[in-house]
Symmetry: none
């Protein structure tokens, strides 16, 4: 695949003459970027020079791989995949809670620290947005699978607007992590409250109907 602004990958299988690029440098650079992002480094202070210094790398080594700062950020974010958020195979409700957990505690993971920093950039860069979507899609897909299982089991209503329910579950958590509406003390059981609030809309309680 060819990324628009990403690293210049010599993706040919042809032999590359000359000294090969150092994998250690690649890792050190990306790690330095992610660490600085996660540390809460002000976005303007995330200078290439600082990255180079922190990674123990020359500036040219960075610019040999990425044409500019934006592209470096781009690829750094691409590497933030996070764990697929295993669900224990319990009840549908338990699985939903398990899937929401990482999104509910975004501020405690490096990925969570990083995401908000990129939102502004995403507004301008469709590519960066695509990356974000690609990262979040697997979790959303997993959620859809769980919902379909619930429908099959009869636990959930069969006429669910799947995409909207997914948005209903993730959206408030994402917004909360950005805006911090609720006081911090209430955040602990936020996911539980959220699922409880949404549950009547999705559970297959026989007679009640709203549409």
């Amino acid at each position: 695949m060819t990324t628009a602004t990403g690293a210049v990958e010599a993706d040919q299988d042809r032999k590359a003459p000359g000294r090969p690029r150092s994998a250690r440098a690649d890792e050190a650079i990306i790690e330095a970027v992610l660490d600085m992002l996660a540390e809460g480094t002000a976005f303007e202070a995330l200078s290439i020079e600082a990255v180079a210094a922190r990674a123990g790398v020359g500036k040219a080594t960075i610019y040999r791989r990425w044409p500019n700062k934006e592209a470096l950020l781009f690829d750094a974010v691409k590497t933030v995949k996070g764990e697929p958020a295993q669900m224990g195979g319990g009840s549908v409700r338990e699985d939903i809670v398990a899937l929401l957990a990482p999104a509910g505690h975004l501020e405690h993971s490096r990925a969570g620290q990083i995401m908000p920093c990129l939102l502004a950039e995403m507004q301008r860069s469709p590519e960066l947005r695509h990356v974000y979507q690609r990262i979040s899609e697997p979790r959303r897909d997993l959620m859809r699978t769980v919902l379909r299982r619930g429908i099959a089991e009869g636990t959930l209503r069969p006429d669910l607007d799947l995409d909207m329910v997914v948005a209903l579950l993730f959206g408030p958590l994402i917004a909360q992590s950005l805006v911090h509406w609720s006081p911090d003390t209430a955040r602990e059981d936020l996911i539980e409250r959220l699922v409880t609030a949404v549950w009547p809309a999705i559970a297959a309680t026989a007679p009640a109907d709203g549409s």
Copy 2:
């Protein structure tokens, strides 16, 4: 009152010796900032020098009013209040849709263009976050009022977790405006789909109906 990072206001009522500050300059600067934000100017390109040039103003005229770039942004955002989103006094469901409308079409207003740019900054600056909350609070409060009216009318369930329902309604729209999960074609009736999906969770169980 002196805000932490806000404009340095000469809040004394005492006579100000010398030439008074130009109100035209104030407006021109704020307008320049908002225009550039709304135009999709890259955040890093929103330099004080560019703002000064666009406003036809000297750099010192800006720094005399705000101590730094952040404070300028801060005050610029404060002026974006937006209209309180009038609701026609119809059914509860109609009012909810009316209140969600501006948030659902964020990308078509200047305020909507500006918001995402501030989210990243908000992560670092609690003050800026406070401003955002102050701006959004009236709308959320209005929503709570409508929900309470619905409960009183018997249209909505009396045991609603009000804050969570508000989050359930606004959160997905905010997340959507930032992440653009859904394809653009589906966005038109996004609010309708959202309310429809949420409705079973909030509508009074047995007899009442909101459509």
Copy 3:
């Protein structure tokens, strides 16, 4: 006067709006360059960054005045005028020796330290050569005046090729200062030996003639 590559002088008499350029910065920069040249700083080590650091000046302050390193050198050299080499008004021979003295001891003055560094650049830059010529011309002219006085007094031959005699007197000293042909011990009385050697060619000894 407008120099081709020299400093961008606002030679208009019109008022210049804004803060005027700092004369202290001008001096500090030029002095730093000349000091570093005279100290025997390797030409490649004469970096703009080093000059800025030594002058206690930002790099932009240098680049605001000169477009590049070459132009800075150019103007720095222009300021090296050296003293007009006073001659005591003694005999013609004594005056000649007095005029040659600074050229004969070039390596002991800052100007002498600087000149050789510029010769290579002069080969490419006619402008720089012009500066060198402008600096050296007064001395050469003074020498011509002395020679004409000697001719008028009858001390020197009336048919002298003035320019060539000047070249005969300065040329060997210049070449010597660059190439260091003679061992250092012989340099003390070099001027005396030179004048002694040249003297028969210019003195008005009546009968001898070579042409």
Copy 4:
């Protein structure tokens, strides 16, 4: 013998295991340097990378032979020997003119193009100066031989300060080639004018005549 800054020569007669150094590379490198110098390449643009590219050689191949750029220049210059400036065995004056000719037309030969570039470096590097002296010494020696022959013939004065006369003859030409004092139109018969001007100082006083 190992020169301080010169090429690292494997001066042992011992067997050299492994692949021997390519003589073609040696030549190509030196030729590339001399060509670029003669082409008027700005001295700062004479980068090792450019030399390597021009010579069709890897950078390491250069650094394996010379420790740094200076040493490469050093050896490149050493190879510029120039022809010994044949003299036709005519009169002493004719021989002098013949010996001066190459120095008088320095700017038309590659050697002449190169020399000025080295003068600046010579100021720092005694070694490089030594090379220059070694190159120029044969010509100066030849001149001394001619002068001694003139003295023996009775054409020249017997009490000449030989070294000074040599300096008197070469010095002005060298200075002229660097500084370009005289206008170009006068340069054609420069040597003739020089010898004519010097002649009275060296010709035997009474009877002899050199023209």
